[in-house]
């Protein structure tokens, strides 16, 4: 391997490494940005906790500042925990509600199409859609990406859940 080949190999390796590295850095950077939102929720929880602690009467076991500080700490923890888990629960709930509405609408359409003696292929495609909707509620892994590299390095990603559809796209 001469020097030019070595330099070329080094450049290719650096390009390939940095491509995936920069994507990772961008993701981590986004995660760091979200830390400020978590802190905000923690602070809000802490303030609420302190205000609640202010209304608790003084006992012989703890002084007023101690109670307020303890409630503040509990508020911070609750705020951060709510940020970490609360939104996920709300999102899932919203997803379930919208999924239920769409599935009811789909069932109605299938019923109408069956009564109107629609072609079997149409009814089958509706059932397929219904099945896809049911599957979309589950946490399925991201669909595989098929990458086609162009001469200029432009890459085209074809994303599909249906393997047959992906094959069709590849044949084009």
């Amino acid at each position: 391997m001469n020097k030019q080949d070595e330099a070329r190999a080094s450049l290719e390796a650096a390009t390939q490494d940095l491509k995936s590295y920069t994507d990772g850095v961008i993701q981590t950077s986004e995660r760091i940005s979200k830390l400020s939102t978590a802190s905000l929720y923690g602070v809000l929880g802490g303030v609420v906790g302190m205000l609640v602690g202010g209304f608790i009467p003084v006992t012989q076991f703890a002084s007023q500042p101690g109670i307020i500080a303890m409630f503040g700490l509990a508020g911070i923890t609750a705020g951060v925990l709510y940020y970490r888990s609360g939104f996920k629960g709300i999102k899932t709930e919203q997803k379930v509600v919208s999924n239920r509405l769409i599935s009811e609408e789909l069932m109605h359409r299938i019923d109408v199409a069956t009564k109107a003696n629609a072609p079997q292929s149409i009814i089958l495609s509706m059932w397929d859609e219904y099945e896809r909707l049911a599957l979309s509620l589950q946490d399925t892994p991201k669909a595989p990406q098929v990458k086609i590299g162009g001469a200029t390095g432009a890459a085209l990603y074809i994303e599909s859940n249906n393997p047959q559809e992906r094959d069709l796209n590849l044949d084009k």
């Binding site: 650096a14 850095v25 760091i32 830390l35 978590a38 390095g153």
Partner: protein
């Protein structure tokens, strides 16, 4: 770009330059993030020390809100820790991205120089 395929020299250089550009864009974002997190760190540290000083010297002017001071110190401490985490991670990302940029820049320069020599451009 799939490097298992054969590409022309121009393609290789174009891809490397495109990645270098992307790295520079990431660096701009990280610089901003480092700056902001440093500002947040300094502000929370100053505030934390100020409150601690007031509490320790016990000549505070908080009046009726004096019982809230330990709680506020706790909150400021929490913000300080979060800012510190953010700053630490941003600095790490910034430094490692700078090193990566140096790597790709030096690879491009080496490759360009050798290619120039090969074609008699030097």
């Amino acid at each position: 770009m799939d490097f298992s395929e054969k590409h022309t020299d121009g393609d290789v250089l174009a891809h490397a330059n495109s990645v270098r550009y992307k790295v520079e864009l990431v660096l701009i974002k990280l610089r901003l993030q480092v700056g902001l997190s440093f500002f947040a760190l300094m502000v929370s540290l100053c505030f934390f020390l100020l409150l601690l000083n007031e509490l320790l010297l016990s000549n505070s002017s908080f009046g009726t809100y004096e019982s809230f001071v330990p709680g506020i110190i706790l909150l400021t401490g929490f913000v300080f820790i979060q800012s510190f985490r953010c700053f630490k991670m941003s600095i790490y990302l910034y430094l490692s991205t700078t090193l990566s940029k140096r790597r790709i820049v030096s690879s491009i320069e080496d490759w360009s120089a050798l290619r120039g020599t090969e074609h008699g451009y030097e």
